[in-house]
């Protein structure tokens, strides 16, 4: 399998999933973010992972044209950069929800019935692992240990840990977040994640 093919496939896969325009359409603000980061942190290709973190923190995900722009600036091939993105679970090439739910499936949570947390999420907002709700309010992932094992079963909502979860607790939490998101403005709100 040639690199070119893999690249094309990766590219196509990303585009069809995200509906991103195919060409190097990277918003100027994103380019500025990348350039500023690289200027403030002089060095070599070891900056790839930190800069990916920085951009994903801002955009919520890593669209392929952005990965390509970063690769160019670091003087590596886009596929090399994509290889790094695809290796690490933390990086994602699809947009995530405004509330990123990370349900812990680590051992401590597993033996304290973490499955029921996943089920409660599915029953409440209809999400499966890896999915995003249509309004992009919620996305769901499973992670392996949040280091909050004393609170098992646990789930992270963005950077906040919620512990000792019950089916009902999960339900209330999610419905609360949804109500909160709908209250101040109506419509569009959930779409900027």
């Amino acid at each position: 399998m040639s690199t070119r093919n893999e690249l094309a496939r990766a590219n196509a896969a990303v585009e069809t999933r995200t509906g991103e325009p195919p060409e190097d359409a990277v918003a100027p603000a994103t380019l500025a973010l990348i350039d500023t980061y690289l200027r403030d942190h002089p060095g070599g290709t070891e900056r790839l992972i930190p800069v990916l973190h920085r951009v994903q923190e801002e955009l919520g995900y890593l669209p392929f044209p952005v990965i390509k722009a970063i690769a160019e600036r670091l003087g590596i091939s886009p596929i090399q950069a994509y290889g790094v993105v695809s290796f690490y679970h933390f990086f994602t090439t699809t947009p995530r929800g405004r509330y990123q739910l990370k349900v812990c499936m680590g051992t401590a949570c597993f033996v304290r019935n973490a499955n029921s947390v996943l089920e409660a999420v599915r029953d409440t907002i209809g999400l499966e692992v890896g999915g995003v709700t249509e309004d992009r309010l919620f996305s769901l992932e499973q992670v392996r240990c949040l280091g909050a094992c004393g609170l098992a079963p646990a789930m992270m909502v963005n950077s906040e840990v919620h512990g000792h979860l019950t089916r009902n607790g999960v339900r209330k939490l999610l419905l609360g977040l949804r109500a909160k998101a709908r209250k101040p403005h109506t419509g569009g709100e959930g779409d900027n994640g």
Partner: protein, 631 residues
């Protein structure tokens, strides 16, 4: 902020010495050590777990209540790191009284101020207490959870405000670094580590002094020091608590190693799932730089050293040292065959010293109190203490630091407070996915690196998940294999393909589709993967299966020969029936059943058609009256 002024100017040796004198008693009192003249303080646990139980709001409420009282300006509220007993959080301690309050909310905070501080009465319904078998009510530092511990790595966790470098310094912090810079030769430091018997706390237990010596002796003018804070084992959270609760102890250990090995740059690799640890460490690095304890010419010694943070990105294999170094270089974190070892060819091919967070935190106390003191604790081959993270089916979940050689029974029954809900202790899982299960029958074995290995498990990073009789050991083994299949980096075939095949076999067993020969295949395949994998991930991947096969063979046999799951966890092997007594006829089960196997009239007993039942357990989970029985 009371008597502790934040240091904005560099700290010289004289200022450090003064700080230690001035604050020593205050901090000793907080740690429950003998002290005189310590001021009244309220310590609030601001560890990760307590924060998610809203301890920050409790601290704010305490401050508000104090400000509005006659004590305004006289009692400080200190936000300290993890106190260990996560189960009882948010925790508040009144120092120097040594009174612990548990599960404190805002109302509790107001009562502590009004009743304890002002009226001078302990709020007994909030007090953390333990009824001893002899009928005594134990409180404060006498509670077995605290009394049985020996804190070396965790010496400052729950005692100091991690954001106050002065408080760290006052606990003799940076004193070991001073000694290394001005009094001890590098060889003396290495000799001290060697005779202390300190072994790596990241899993493999390699003697730390030897590793330091290899790096010191490796040729090269550029060397690196790395802290492994990836903490990938699910169920382990000691490194997180250390980074959050006492970041300077890691910085000091690394700076000492920089001096000893001749490195001037260090990296701390922390996993992305720990945003609070990253933030606290980053603040501590800034404070240390500002104080002149990092950077050029530290304390006028001519030695320069600085540390950068690298954030992981969610790959278990990156905890393996060679993979971790590739990741710092910005590459895919695939392991490399060893040798060459990082000590000779590490980061960017330069000699690199890599140690675990807990190992780093143990360095300064060994140099200050002497290697003999450390070596006197523990067993013949495993010296000192080990931090364990207690989780799972145990009453007192949290972090404990105990002498090596302690028995599992003491940890579970005395420190851990036993198994909740009237269940029985079945086994403890140690070492994460690379480890195995220690059966209850071996609970009296003295725990150290060797004894755990003899039992088919490993020490690992210290995650200890307690299992009760409801956990199916086959399902647990399947869970770990699923984890490892996902986390195998794919570089070597034994690990990539072998773990997949093992997982398939385990799935067959938990579904009741296996034949007796499958168990032999599992075992043979496991041995083969152990021998032929490239890195530690693959070499230890079969442990979960092999150790459960060894200690819980009967449970595997029940699945394979009788189609039965004794723990009642493998859904496919369970028969679901609805009990007449509790069934209220609400029909929720019939609605939830995806195969239409449940029939019955509203307000009358419902019945499951065993022919149609697909064993999904949906009825069990929706039944509001616990009328569905699964056996």
């Amino acid at each position: 902020m009371g008597e502790i002024a934040p240091a904005s100017a560099p700290l010289d040796r004289k200022t450090l010495a003064e700080l230690r004198l001035r604050l020593a008693d205050t901090l000793r009192a907080r740690a429950g050590e003998p002290a005189t003249g310590a001021p009244r303080e309220l310590l609030v646990c601001a560890g990760g777990a307590c924060i998610s139980c809203h301890s920050v709001a409790v601290a704010d409420e305490l401050e508000r209540a104090l400000a509005a009282s006659s004590l305004a300006g006289r009692v400080r509220v200190v936000r300290v790191g993890c106190m260990g007993l996560c189960e009882a959080g948010p925790l508040v301690v009144v120092s120097p009284d040594g009174v612990y309050y548990q599960k404190v909310d805002r109302e509790g905070a107001r009562r502590i101020v009004a009743e304890h501080l002002i009226a001078g009465r302990v709020v007994s319904d909030l007090e953390l207490a333990w009824d001893a078998p002899d009928g005594r009510r134990l409180t404060g530092h006498e509670v077995p959870f605290f009394a049985q511990q020996v804190k070396i790595a965790l010496r400052n966790c729950g005692v100091i405000d991690p954001a106050a470098i002065e408080e760290y310094a006052a606990r003799d912090g940076y004193l070991a670094l001073e000694r290394v810079l001005f009094e001890l030769s590098p060889d003396e430091v290495i000799d001290a580590l060697k005779s202390s018997g300190l072994r790596g706390r990241g899993g493999a237990g390699f003697p730390s002094g030897m590793k330091w010596q290899f790096v010191r002796e490796a040729p090269g003018d550029e060397k690196f020091v790395v802290c492994n804070g990836d903490e990938g084992d699910p169920g382990a959270f000691m490194d997180r608590s250390l980074l959050e609760g006492d970041p300077h102890s890691i910085i000091e250990g690394m700076a000492i190693a920089g001096r000893v090995t001749g490195a001037s740059r260090g990296f701390v690799y922390v996993r992305a799932e720990y945003p609070l640890a990253i933030e606290r460490l980053d603040n501590a690095l800034t404070a240390a730089r500002r104080a002149g304890l990092l950077g050029e010419d530290i304390l006028g010694s001519g030695f320069g050293f600085d540390i950068e943070i690298r954030i992981g990105a969610g790959a278990f294999v990156c905890g393996e040292e060679t993979a971790l170094l590739r990741s710092i270089e910005g590459k895919r974190g695939t392991p490399q065959p060893r040798p060459p070892f990082p000590a000779q060819h590490g980061l960017w091919d330069k000699p690199t010293l890599i140690n675990n967070v807990e190992t780093w935190a143990s360095v300064a106390p060994i140099l200050l109190r002497g290697p003999q003191w450390f070596a006197a604790i523990g067993t013949r081959r495993s010296k000192g203490t080990k931090v364990f993270a207690l989780a799972g089916a145990i009453r007192n979940t949290g972090l404990v630091e105990v002498p090596m050689g302690i028995s599992l029974r003491t940890i579970v029954e005395e420190i851990g407070g036993g198994i909740p809900s009237g269940r029985s202790f079945k086994a403890a899982q140690s070492g994460g996915p690379s480890g195995g299960c220690i059966p209850a029958a071996a609970a009296d074995v003295a725990i150290d690196y060797e004894s755990l290995q003899e039992l088919g498990s490993i020490m690992g990073s210290g995650g200890l998940i307690i299992l009760d009789d409801r956990t199916c050991m086959v399902e647990l083994a399947r869970f770990f294999l699923e984890f490892l299949v996902e986390e195998s980096c794919g570089k070597c075939p034994p690990c990539r393909i072998g773990t997949r095949v093992m997982l398939n076999l385990l799935e067959r067993i938990t579904k009741g589709e296996a034949v007796p020969a499958d168990l032999d295949t599992l075992e043979a395949l496991g041995r083969h993967i152990q021998r032929t994998s490239l890195c530690g991930l693959g070499q230890t991947a079969p442990n979960a299966v092999l150790s459960t096969l060894r200690h819980f063979r009967a449970e595997y046999d029940a699945h394979v020969l009788e189609g039965r799951c004794p723990a009642g966890q493998c859904k496919a092997l369970l028969t679901y029936t609805i009990l007449a007594e509790p069934c209220s006829g609400c029909a929720l089960c019939a609605k939830a059943c995806p195969s239409g196997a449940i029939t019955g009239e509203i307000k009358h007993l419902h019945v499951i058609d065993q022919e149609l039942c697909i064993h999904c357990g949906a009825c069990l989970s929706v039944c509001p009256t616990d009328a569905v029985e699964a056996v």
